[in-house]
């Protein structure tokens, strides 16, 4: 009997908490129309990628990607709602409709294009290399082959780094764990994207470290929408926003605002798209 009552209560809670009444405005498959009707743009982003996307202590999201998302929602005249995604679930969440736009430091690769649509132009770019203590004297990847490096689970470069350079990858859930593992001596360095290492090196805490190895496989990051939205108003809208943010310098400014050194990719895109009359 007790469990029946608890069940009734629980079901009640579940429905009060989640029942969203249908928005039956005639939008069909037009995501742009649906977003405007709902007044909310649901954006998937990570919460463990300082300074691109992370948390404030009140639970809200912060970082460069979050600022980009807010900008897009602002132009649409809707509220930006951020949904935490992980490397393991972000593509499924987008396909299922739990989010409408993904800005989650996802590299734009051929494998991933089979599942979601990346909007072009790309909004960012990074390669991968290793953060090493200065005591390690290595300037070529071949010198650290068969050594262990720490990395974050789900990063796309974990596989090529193992296959091409023979390093051993010890992967953890996030960057706090990888840092901690490195300081305990469980790996010689951190396998990360070059932007992140640059951010670290600008902090005095990392004065004894450097990134001496050549940067590999510079790959652009893409915002993603559902495949059905790629050649539809929503996809075109996002594409236009990205192009304009490159052109008017918004992305360069957001990068600087979040304490990241202006990257070569953003500078190059800004130059390529800038107004010929200026």
């Amino acid at each position: 009997m007790m469990s029946l009552k608890a069940l009734a209560l629980a079901v009640g809670v579940a429905f009060v908490g989640t029942a969203a009444v249908a928005q039956s405005i005639e939008c069909g498959d037009d995501t742009l129309c649906k977003v405007k009707a709902a007044g909310v743009l649901k954006i998937g982003t990570k919460d463990d990628y300082v300074p691109w996307s992370y948390r404030a202590s009140d639970g809200s999201f912060k970082g460069m990607e979050v600022d980009i998302g807010k900008k897009i929602a602002e132009v649409l005249g809707v509220k930006a709602e951020f949904v935490k995604v992980t490397s393991a679930n972000r593509f499924e969440f987008l396909a299922q409709g739990q989010i409408d736009l993904m800005i989650a430091s996802a590299s734009d690769t051929a494998e991933r294009r089979k599942i979601v649509a990346f909007v072009h132009p790309n909004y960012y770019s990074s390669g991968y290399t290793v953060l090493l203590p200065k005591t390690v004297k290595a300037t070529e990847w071949s010198q650290i082959s068969s050594q262990t490096v720490c990395a974050v689970q789900g990063a796309w470069y974990n596989k090529p780094a193992q296959e091409e350079f023979g390093v051993k990858v010890l992967a953890f859930a996030g960057t706090a764990e990888t840092e901690s593992a490195m300081t305990q001596g469980r790996c010689i360095g951190l396998l990360e994207d070059d932007n992140q290492i640059n951010v670290r090196l600008s902090n005095a805490k990392w004065a004894d470290y450097q990134m001496p190895l050549p940067i590999q496989a510079d790959t652009p990051w893409g915002m993603a929408v559902r495949q059905a939205d790629q050649f539809a108003p929503f996809g075109y809208f996002v594409a236009g926003m990205i192009a304009e943010m490159h052109r008017d310098g918004t992305l360069l400014k957001l990068e600087a605002d979040n304490g990241i050194k202006n990257s070569a990719f953003l500078t190059k895109m800004h130059d390529a798209l800038k107004d010929h009359l200026d």
């Binding site: 393991a88 499924e92 689970q153 596989k159 859930a173 901690s180 305990q184 469980r186």
Partner: protein, 252 residues
């Protein structure tokens, strides 16, 4: 033959079921390593958890002093907190105050690696459940057996080890099988401290190839086989140790 298999799974991938582990040599190697590590984790942790469980139950039965209090405290803490968090705590917190050796290029290297920590953590977690199991087994042996042994001139310790324990073991099998099945399933948690077991390698494979559902199905099958094997082995041991005329159940 092998190329035939690879071709088959490559064609299968084109039709939507992407099992990279059967045609990509790199993924195949990772997966086999993962399976091997999972098996090692199960064997090592099962062994140590049974040892811990038996020792704990013996202490609880034979002693009433501080030793018993320590065992009870240990069981309470490990049974009432998430294994995943325990594992993290051992690896990052306790691991940082452990002795450090040196590797071949002169950098510091901890003596206890990921795998060893995972075994320690899993054994302690599962051991806490085994303590309860064995203690309940001892409790299920009717006190008349011990009294009979004492009457035959055994002292209390001898009566415990020669009479109560062998009978208690037989009462414990069902619950022990349950614990070991849980342990088998729990080995997946070792992925959190970087042990390349099945979940860890599967996670890497589906991050690269985006074949999450296929890899999940493969994992489900493998774990069903593994837990089935654990139950089978326990049942065989139980059958081999069955005493004629010593029935179980029936209200004891």
């Amino acid at each position: 033959m092998i190329t035939d298999i690879q071709t088959f799974f490559r064609e299968l991938a084109a039709s939507g079921v992407n099992l990279t582990i059967f045609y990509d040599a790199f993924d195949f190697d990772r997966f086999v390593t993962g399976l091997g590590n999972t098996l090692l984790l199960i064997l090592a942790s099962s062994f140590f958890s049974i040892v811990i469980g038996a020792a704990g139950a013996a202490v609880l039965t034979l002693s009433k002093g501080p030793a018993a209090a320590v065992v009870r405290g240990y069981v309470a803490v490990f049974r009432n907190t998430p294994l995943l968090v325990q594992m993290y705590f051992f690896y990052f917190a306790v691991g940082s105050i452990m002795p450090v050796g040196q590797n071949e290029i002169g950098l510091p290297q901890p003596l206890i690696g990921s795998f060893a920590w995972a075994v320690i953590s899993l054994s302690l977690y599962s051991g806490a459940f085994n303590v309860e199991t064995f203690r309940a087994g001892v409790g299920a042996v009717h006190s008349s057996y011990e009294e009979a042994a004492l009457a035959l001139g055994y002292n209390r310790r001898q009566a415990f080890f020669s009479v109560t324990v062998p009978l208690a073991l037989r009462f414990s099998f069902a619950s022990l099988a349950n614990n070991l099945v849980d342990l088998t399933k729990a080995t997946t948690v070792a992925y959190a401290v970087g042990v390349a077991e099945l979940l860890y390698v599967s996670n890497q494979i589906w991050s690269d190839s985006l074949n999450t559902i296929e890899m999940m199905n493969v994992m489900l099958l493998i774990y069903l086989v593994l837990t089935g094997a654990v139950v089978f082995i326990i049942n065989r041991v139980e059958a081999a140790m069955r005493l004629p005329g010593f029935g179980l159940g029936d209200g004891q």
